[in-house]
């Protein structure tokens, strides 16, 4: 073998080895982070975690944060799911090739990766500040504001999946329905949405997985609360924000509770995204 062949062969081997190493590096970090979260979180998981509230931190509870997270996330999904599905339907059914459609699609993709802390500031300015001045300060930070902020994070995910899922529905289905004289709104709601129902539902779950782990937008919208709160206009604790506060605390006992909360969130989010992945594996649609 001449020198040039040997060199090309060697370059090839080196490059392929490096690419294998790169993959190992990625997997190592995943394993490292998951291992730490599970091993440190599991020891603080117990009954008190679900029954005691954060006001008495020495009792090791996150009950109010867990309830708060569930309420805020649920509200956020209730806000962004209908809007997102309808907006996605508009893009797929009415604006597939129009200029407005492509502009909205483009901006939706940008919103998908926009910094969540800025969305938190946005909601602070349009929800928290007006509420404070209307009620003379008796209502400021609120669970509702937190839900709006999280809804903004879930919205683009739902818009995009709905748009893609509806575009997958074969055109013959539309033509068959229209030829029977069905109005377009009925076609959309009763035929197309039903045909792509599981895909749209997957989009909603994906959005939930995305917004459930968000901390930054909640810091100055839902704020936090050491006591149990159920009111829409109350300050409300949430798991991510409580984890954030506990991590900042110098007391190591707090860190243990923070890890337990971290474990809960991580399990929830990873389970959701694996679940949706199973759905998607059948649908074959990109969803980054």
């Amino acid at each position: 073998m001449s020198a040039i062949y040997r060199r090309r062969y060697a370059t090839n081997i080196i490059a392929l080895t490096l690419s294998g190493i790169a993959t190992l590096i990625g997997l190592t970090f995943l394993a490292w982070i998951l291992w730490i979260t599970i091993s440190r979180g599991i020891s603080a998981v117990g009954v008190p975690l679900f029954t005691k509230i954060t006001a008495y931190a020495d009792q090791g509870g996150l009950a109010n944060a867990i309830v708060g997270s569930m309420l805020i996330d649920l509200m956020a999904i209730l806000i962004c799911a209908p809007i997102g599905v309808l907006a996605g339907t508009y893009l797929a059914e009415y604006a597939r090739r129009t200029k407005l459609g492509s502009v909205i699609r483009f901006l939706n993709d940008i919103l998908l990766s926009a910094p969540s802390i800025v969305l938190g500031l946005f909601v602070y300015v349009i929800v928290v500040l007006p509420m404070t001045s209307i009620t003379n300060g008796s209502v400021s930070f609120s669970a509702f504001a937190g839900a709006v902020a999280l809804a903004l994070i879930g919205l683009p995910v739902i818009v995009r999946t709905t748009d893609e899922m509806l575009q997958l529905v074969p055109g013959t289905l539309r033509e068959a329905a229209l030829s029977l004289g069905i109005p377009q709104w009925k076609l959309t709601v009763q035929v197309l949405m039903r045909a792509s129902g599981s895909g749209i539902a997957t989009g909603v779950l994906l959005a939930l997985a995305r917004l459930a782990g968000e901390t930054a937008p909640l810091l100055f919208t839902a704020f936090g609360n050491n006591y149990m709160a159920y009111g829409l206009l109350d300050k409300m604790a949430s798991l991510p924000v409580s984890i954030y506060q506990y991590t900042n605390d110098p007391n190591p006992a707090m860190h243990a509770i923070a890890w337990a909360g971290a474990l809960l969130i991580t399990l929830f989010v990873l389970a959701l995204s694996l679940l949706t992945r199973l759905f998607f594996a059948r649908k074959k649609v990109n969803h980054d």
Partner: protein
């Protein structure tokens, strides 16, 4: 047929057609309003942060953008420190994440046996699903001590002794700091960049690759000389997508940056970033201080918007190519 009998007919079908048309119009209007909300969300985010930060953005523009003295007590708000921290951590993240992501994409699309591809790709993408606060905790409690004990002393002892670039790795091994934050960010954006790269590598026509193999190319040569040039714009788009993520990331870097407004040459020293300044100080801030933080948010929004816009335009060029 008697002509007078025609208007007497009930014309139910006509009424029905009118009703359907009306419903269709209303339905379409509702959908359009929802779609416009997406537009409104972005415009609103820009406008509201501009409005919230107007006092500093318009009142002290020059001071805000060109000085690095951030002192709420004396009411001085120079944003250079956070801007510097955001840019430098993101650059470190990109420099580390791009080669690794490229390696992963190469491994998954060309090297790995097909039974291994899906599980490994899923695992890498799970990195993107982990909430950023978890990265922050792991960074603070595990990775910072690791850097302080094992990595930074070695960096100072080796690279720190070199002329010129030595200054970058000079200083006490605190663990906290710009370099650590950059590495954590790199781990976070690897799944985004690698999945875009992998996806676009799959769009390279097989006959192009096979022609190259037929001419005797090695795998590496096919990837480097055929696939990469073919997908160049989308690969750059993927990198910008990762950059956009890195610039705006908050929770992962807030804990590990060290929260210092000083601009220092060494990457081992603590710093701050736009997002972490906002997260750390916003709830205690009032008046001009709060306005300055919202103004920082506006800056961040504008910069990430531009970066993400470039990313999407680059990526779109590829999908057009695919369509032809």
């Amino acid at each position: 047929m008697n002509a007078t009998s025609l208007p007497a007919e009930p014309r139910e079908s006509d009424q029905r057609a009118q009703r359907d048309a009306r419903h269709d119009r209303i339905f379409r209007l509702i959908l359009k309003a929802c779609a416009l909300l997406v537009l409104l969300a972005l415009l609103g985010a820009a406008a509201s942060t501009l409005w919230g930060g107007r006092e500093v953005l318009f009142g002290h523009t020059w001071e805000f953008l060109t000085t690095s003295d951030w002192n709420p007590v004396e009411n001085k708000y120079g944003a250079l420190g956070p801007i510097f921290g955001t840019l430098v951590t993101s650059i470190i993240a990109i420099v580390l994440a791009v080669p690794i992501s490229f390696g992963i994409a190469l491994f998954l699309s060309e090297i790995a046996p097909s039974w291994l591809r899906t599980p490994v790709a899923t695992a890498i993408e799970l990195l993107a699903a982990i909430p950023s606060i978890i990265y922050g905790m792991w960074g603070l409690f595990v990775f910072v001590p690791f850097m302080a004990d094992h990595v930074e002393p070695k960096l100072s002892a080796t690279l720190g002794q070199l002329p010129i670039i030595g200054a970058l790795f000079d200083g006490p091994p605190l663990g906290l700091g710009i370099l650590t934050a950059g590495i954590v960010l790199a781990v976070m954006i690897i799944p985004f960049i690698s999945s875009v790269m992998r996806e676009v590598f799959q769009t390279v026509p097989t006959r192009l690759k096979e022609s190259a193999y037929a001419l005797g190319s090695t795998k590496w040569e096919v990837v480097w000389d055929i696939m990469l040039p073919y997908t160049r714009s989308a690969v750059i788009g993927g990198i910008f997508l990762g950059l956009g993520r890195a610039l705006g990331e908050t929770m992962a870097v807030t804990f590990v940056l060290g929260n210092s407004y000083d601009i220092q040459a060494s990457l081992l020293m603590p710093g701050t970033s736009i997002s972490s300044s906002i997260a750390n100080e916003f709830n205690e801030a009032v008046g001009t201080h709060r306005s300055a933080l919202i103004a920082l948010g506006f800056l961040l929004f504008v910069v990430t918007f531009i970066v993400l816009m470039i990313a999407r335009l680059m990526l779109r060029r590829l999908s057009r190519k695919e369509g032809n």
